[in-house]
Point group: C2
């Protein structure tokens, strides 16, 4: 059984937004044992939508469409589906009632355009949208299923979780997708591949090993389809684990901030952060994790030197002499923040994110990271690239990683 996703919207094709829906859907569906074979994005143009549906129905059993179902004129998915399936729109009192309830809750006034959302194709199964006004349309034709749902992330997620995935599970017996993941660091992708050459050559044909490098980390995914491969997966996993021992961060595909959080919680350690070039991103990543208030006390973003002096109490002569991006300053930042916020651990980062501000001695991408745990500190200098966003993300990853390693060593 194969699924194809068709996101619809000019805003994706002109690059105004990044399509994050498809990754969320693919992740959810894969975990439930469904296989995605393609994602085809097209614009708000009937001919292109029809072309994409034609191709998708040839190669997939289920087509999941997102977007183009809003109340405005540029949204043509519903009309186009009517054309495609030679159907006609009828007014649904049930959909209207659902919209009225939603609007009553939000204290919005119902207008004509919103009321028009209650028109639905006559020959399809209509699923009520519990988070928005556009109904979810479920078509079944010649053993194939096509579902149209909103592109608004929250509405799509609500519909997928509560309605679409459960219904797909009733229709199809999903084949279990078996996977184990490893997170490694401190090695290039090609050196890692060389290290694993023998392992990969001896891997059974129905297993696959994928490499996913991202901002200084590499995720490895060993996978196979079907529960009959479970014991073989365990065997291969152990072999792989032995080979990775010296570079292994974690046996999961969790975000590293989640890994750090779990370790801090299990060892009952609290943490604070002092950030310069990462500008709050480390605190942001740590607090994306639900329940992070159990271990995260807070942080200071000392973007200007005067904040480093006035708020973090770093002697201005030290900054003058060593520079804000230096071993001395980053260590003082770490020590001060954990003292002020009374935490067991702290992370401090100071660097030059770019695009400006570099010098021959300290080019853009120079970053000092200090992690502290009780009376121990580790300070390291990193040299990243020239892209601001890349430097912020790399520094954030390396800082979290450095902290994970330190917590790991703590008995």
């Amino acid at each position: 059984m194969k699924i194809e996703i068709i996101p619809v919207g000019d805003e994706i094709l002109i690059g105004q937004i990044t399509d994050t829906n498809s990754a969320w859907m693919a992740d959810k569906l894969t975990r439930k044992g469904f296989e995605i074979n393609a994602i085809t994005t097209v614009g708000d143009c009937a001919q292109d939508i029809i072309g994409a549906i034609d191709t998708a129905l040839l190669r997939a059993d289920v087509v999941l469409m997102t977007g183009g179902v809003g109340p405005t004129k540029d949204d043509i998915t519903k009309k186009t589906l009517c054309e495609y399936f030679q159907d006609q729109l009828i007014f649904s009192e049930d959909v209207l009632k659902n919209i009225e309830q939603l609007f009553a809750r939000k204290k919005y006034t119902l207008n004509e355009l919103t009321r028009n959302q209650a028109f639905v194709p006559e020959n399809c199964f209509v699923i009520q949208n519990k988070a928005g006004t556009a109904p979810i349309l479920w078509f079944e034709r010649k053993n194939k299923i096509l579902v149209s749902m909103p592109g608004v992330p929250f509405e799509m997620k609500t519909a997928m979780n509560n309605e679409i995935i459960p219904r797909l599970q009733k229709h199809f017996l999903p084949v279990d997708y078996l996977k184990c993941s490893f997170l490694v660091s401190g090695i290039t992708e090609s050196a890692l591949a060389l290290l694993l050459t023998g392992f990969e050559n001896r891997l059974p044909a129905n297993f696959s090993l994928a490499y996913l490098p991202s901002y200084g980390l590499i995720r490895l995914r060993l996978s196979a389809w079907g529960n009959e491969n479970l014991s073989e997966l365990e065997l291969q996993k152990e072999k792989l684990k032995q080979l990775l021992e010296h570079i292994l961060i974690d046996e999961s595909d969790k975000p590293i901030e989640t890994i750090l959080g779990e370790k801090l919680r299990s060892k009952k350690l609290s943490i604070s952060v002092a950030e310069s070039c990462t500008g709050g991103n480390i605190a942001h990543r740590i607090t994306l994790v639900p329940g992070s208030s159990d271990y995260f006390e807070g942080g200071i973003v000392s973007y200007s030197n005067s904040i480093k002096t006035n708020v973090l109490n770093i002697n201005s002569a030290t900054i003058e002499k060593q520079g804000a991006v230096s071993e001395e300053v980053v260590e003082l930042m770490a020590k001060h923040i954990s003292k002020t916020m009374q935490t067991d651990c702290s992370i401090a980062v100071s660097g030059i994110a770019g695009p400006d501000g570099g010098t021959p001695e300290k080019p853009v991408g120079t970053v000092w990271i200090c992690t502290q745990l009780h009376n121990k500190i580790v300070t390291q200098k990193y040299q990243f690239g020239t892209s601001r966003e890349e430097n912020i993300n790399r520094a954030t990853n390396m800082a979290i990683l450095q902290m994970i390693e330190m917590v790991n060593r703590e008995v």
Copy 2:
């Protein structure tokens, strides 16, 4: 002239990563006057890659492929392209030299797998990758162009900017894409559409108006292809602007943190932030903007109540009595941070991001935002939803917006 993008990689289809490359490419290409007609994502599977190329070459003039060109076994794009074009791999000394230079700079050791990256199809034009080891392959067949490039974002961007876009511009005369954008807030999508019904009905047929709602903001894009529509666009733009007057934030499609930054810079105002539930995300968003150190001094993330008391000097009795998520506390946070960091403006946020921590009086999604400019303050309560990530993003947007509006009113 139409372009289709084909991202290749199992990691996208299983939802392990979000494809951010395509949005970046689409944005760059659209701005240069090229039109993207589809984005088709397939896995690391020869048959699927070939199928996608076949379809793409039927409907597009240029096919841009990303990914599947790493040194590891799961990367099969190069081999598959060889098969597709009935070509063979030959060893390129030029590519090897490029890799050796790159590795010398990074102080990496060259290994066999990396050396294999220098094998390239015989009948294609090879572009050196200045940021990585995989060469960029440019095929020309029967008036169509197909380019294969790395999926690593930094390598893709370097190749696109320096080589691929300039070469496409030489090959084709791009048709100018005319667009103007408006950012509005404080209105639902359907109410906005109703407001613009008359305008949309009278809009010339070759113009289009698109709505793009995101976390409390709506972006409107009025567009047309071809420079001959320039004066008509100006006319329509003025009409639209008058209709939007009372809800207009900005006439651009810039991120709101960039808009805030420009306004602060032009009025010579400095800013600091005190964050609770947004956990550093406001500081992060502000500092994503290059040059933000001109106006951003720093911030404090006071995640726990003890940090609110000990670092932000908020009386613990006030927190006890009013709760950390309250008008009083958020105002004290704003006042204290601007005083400590000696800034003209400040933003303070306190709320319940969820999924836990809500009460009947203050359910998950309750957020207080205070913005301050010299001796004026504005404090507002917002009620968002139940998703943690959504609440963090909405609170961040509303806080930045509230600050923009305050700076706008400052003479």
